[in-house]
Amino acid sequence: MAGSNEVNLNECKMVVPLNTWVLISSFKLAYNLLRRPDGTFNRHLAEFLDRKVPANLNPVDGVFSFDVLIDRATGLLCRIYRPATAEEPEPNIVELEKPVVGDVVPVIIFFHGGSFAHSSANSAIYDTLCRRLVGICKAVVVSVNYRRAPENRYPCAYDDGWTAFKWVNSRSWLQSRKDSKVHIYLAGDSSGGNIAHHVAARAVESGIDVLGNILLNPMFGGQERTESEKRLDGKYFVTLRDRDWYWRAFLPEGENRDHPACNPFGPNGRSLEGIKFPKSLVVVAGLDLIQDWQLAYVEGLRKAGKEVKLLYMEQATIGFYLLPNNNHFHTVMDEISEFVSSDC
């Protein structure tokens, strides 16, 4: 289908600011270099190109960060972001795991995006996003550096998410004073949103409470071609071909896109009826070609009687939440803030 590969550059330049266009286009081009037709991935070049930032104990805009190795066997790292307090404006090595101060302190476990293959917890764009979340939610943010595809397929990312979840839940220094429990929210964008859903499901199955899920442009899919996929293929930075590549890279070999990891409410999915699934905030960008799957996800939650708020941002493209230069960004940040604070 020659038409679906044609890139309509003019359309996407109209809807995003110039610097956003430059950023997302350069990601797109870089990612095209990294995906090989045979399904392998040029990991060395990916790491070379990815802009990373170190953790920083010196507070920047009131937030400091440090990295913790939580599972030696898999090398699972998390980056923890904490608000600097007035009493300890410059934390030292002893203060890092000082108990959080407050009756209720939200802890957001964040899973970065990248379609299961790209980016890391220390990628600059995600470091920036996590720092913002600390500020707007008055939360501690734990960003998980999960293992990526294609070297590590399903269920590695979910297992790492679960390991991080258990680790967070068992930190005494993260407990809120009110009930000596850790108040956990799960959040993520793109593949991270997908991971957040699956970790939440596993958590509630194990009897551990999750206070809420925040899914930003979550990555879902299915075998069928939906209307939005056909209509928007190649129009706004993303093509169906690359989406297919990433699913092939993540899902077990031989599986198709109706695998429940990809399509949780599809033919092989499972209803959440009767399960104490947390409330969800799902953000869908109106110019994202996979929106029909994201909307189907929201429908699936509703049908099972779960609380869900849908934020449909009509004129938004993928990655709109990476730079604070558009209205969608601010709207979403406000909603996230309210979503998290409503339990305090």
Partner: protein, 538 residues
């Protein structure tokens, strides 16, 4: 094991120029798009439109030949991804010409009137298969299970130990030696409750020793606590085997030197610290395989004078000569014995003006940083004569650490973070006695940083950001290490080392770290010609 990085957020990291005013030698560029800078990219606002246009052109070019794309990605050498305009351009260049076949792509070298193969298209080895990131070490799994499980109480004791170390260091800084002494006793007691086989207990033990030596020997009188040169060489060799830091240093420097020597028939490497000459066999072999044939290679190795009269430098030179002979590389060696680098004078190196010179400094420059109050300090003198040699390249590898701050507590804290991380990485080493001796090697460094002062304190590590400023100010310009060097470093790591090490690119320099903390940084430099008034530091 907890891992921290207390570096400040100013320039030098790949985070872009968020707050460059405090540490950059040039005035902050007002025009840089702040939002893109936060994402790690440096683009001038005034150039955004142009960059966008180039991206569009690149996209169109890609659309025309999608099959070539990933193959070209494997072959192309890219530099400095933070400079978006620059790397988009280099990709455009790749796409603008049709890819030539390897053997027919020659350019004539006008100086030597010889044909030289364009190095970007040289592919001496067949396309190496992608090395998967996760090679499982079954051994490692079972050994990890054997490591003592850290109980909650131990974790608690570990934190208390760190707390006490900091307090003790504070006392030493303020001169309250009696409190410091009693803290030493308490800490030694606490050590018995903590696992000292690995983790915080092991590192803490070394720091307690170093503090104790500092207190009991008095300030400034601390011994260099180095053994003989012979001992040092043995420890160095085991450190080389036990973990990849020195291997990384050597092959990154060699790669850069090899490229700098391209097209030259007479080349001369000056090695500031020969040790066992571990770095050079690989370079000799690479030169032997060079298309067009190897050059005449001279190696001048600097090392300490042996106390027992053995001419160890010469012995190493002989072994290297033997290797060179076996691969048909014309080779000459010269040893320069000096106990300190600042005692070396350029005439001792006998550099010939016709040869291409490479100066190689693996963790040596920081030793020249003591006694900076005097004018013509050792570092200035040495950098000045290096510049006078007009080297084709100077390769510099240094510990990525801030161990030369004037305040003792700051230094101590930095060293605690740094060496904790390094010891943690050493846990992954499974071979003995390499691991044990490597630990002693590191322990000696700790001892020097913590318990020595004045001229005895030679381990004066400074981070890459500071070296960049220093070298730029001394008339050097950075040569960028690109994606090919990065890829080789990454691949070699996966083949030879345990999981957890990572290579990072930072504005043309490469660093090797453990779990996202860089511990050693490699960079390459060239002297800016004296008549060039624009002293740029890229």
């Amino acid at each position: 094991m907890l891992r921290y990085d207390s570096t400040s957020s100013s320039a030098g990291s790949s985070s872009g120029s968020l707050s460059s005013s405090s540490s950059s030698s040039k005035p902050p560029q007002q025009d840089i798009d702040g939002l893109l800078a936060g994402a790690g990219y440096k683009v001038r606002s005034s150039e955004l439109r142009q960059v966008a246009q180039r991206l569009e052109r690149l996209e169109t070019a890609m659309g025309n030949s999608p099959a070539d794309f990933s193959q070209l990605a494997s072959d192309a050498i890219l530099y400095n991804p933070s400079d978006l305009a620059c790397w988009v351009d280099s990709l455009l260049t790749e796409f603008a010409e049709p890819p030539p076949t390897c053997s027919s792509d020659f350019i004539v070298d006008p100086v030597n009137n010889q044909t030289v193969v364009n190095s970007a298209w040289t592919a001496a080895e067949p396309h190496t298969p992608q090395v998967h990131q996760n090679i499982t070490y079954d051994e490692q799994q079972s050994l990890d299970n054997q490591l003592t499980v850290v109980t909650a109480m131990e974790e608690d004791s570990g934190i208390r130990l760190v707390h006490m170390l900091m307090t003790c260091a504070e006392c030493v800084q303020s001169g309250d030696l009696s409190l410091a002494t009693s803290l030493i006793d308490d800490m030694q007691g606490l050590l018995t409750h903590v696992n000292t086989i690995c983790g915080i207990g092991k590192v803490a033990g070394h720091f307690i020793d170093a503090l104790s030596r500092r207190i009991f020997q008095g300030m400034g009188g601390g011994s260099v606590n180095g053994g003989s040169a012979f001992e040092n060489e043995i420890l160095y060799h085991h450190f080389y085997e036990a973990c990849p830091y020195l291997k990384f240093a050597h092959f990154t420097a060699n790669q850069a030197i090899l490229e700098a020597f391209d097209g030259h028939d007479c080349v001369h490497v000056v090695d500031f610290n020969l040790m066992h000459g571990l770095q050079w066999p690989a370079l000799i072999q690479a030169l032997a395989l060079r298309p067009g044939g190897p050059p005449l290679l001279r190696l001048t190795g600097i090392g300490p004078p042996p106390p027992d009269g053995r001419d160890s430098l010469r012995e190493i030179g002989l072994r290297l000569a033997e290797l060179a002979r076996s691969v048909n590389v014309r080779f000459a060696f010269r040893g320069v014995a000096a106990s300190r680098l600042e005692d070396v004078k350029p005439w001792m190196l006998q550099v010939n003006p016709k040869e291409a010179v490479a100066v190689n400094s693996i963790m040596q420059l920081h030793r020249l940083l003591g006694c900076e109050q005097t004018r013509n300090s050792p570092i200035d003198t040495v950098l000045s004569w290096i510049r006078g040699l007009n080297p084709k390249i100077m390769t510099v590898v240094e510990q990525e650490a801030n161990h030369n701050q004037p305040g003792f507590l700051d230094r101590f804290t930095e060293a605690l973070y740094y060496y904790s991380t390094m010891f943690d990485s050493l846990e992954a080493c499974r071979i003995q006695p390499e691991k044990a001796l490597a630990e002693i090697y590191i322990q000696r460094e700790i001892g020097n940083v913590v318990s020595c002062e004045g001229s005895a304190r030679v381990e004066r590590h400074e981070p890459l950001a500071k070296w960049r400023r220093r070298l730029s100010g001394a008339g050097f310009r950075a040569l960028r290490l690109g994606s090919n060097a990065f890829k080789q470093a990454s691949m070699l790591l996966t083949l030879f080392s345990a999981e957890g090490y990572s290579v990072e690119e930072n504005e043309g320099c490469l660093s090797l770290g453990w779990h996202s903390s860089p511990l050693i940084a490699a960079s390459a430099w060239q002297a800016v010609p004296a008549w060039d008034n624009h002293m740029s530091s890229s």
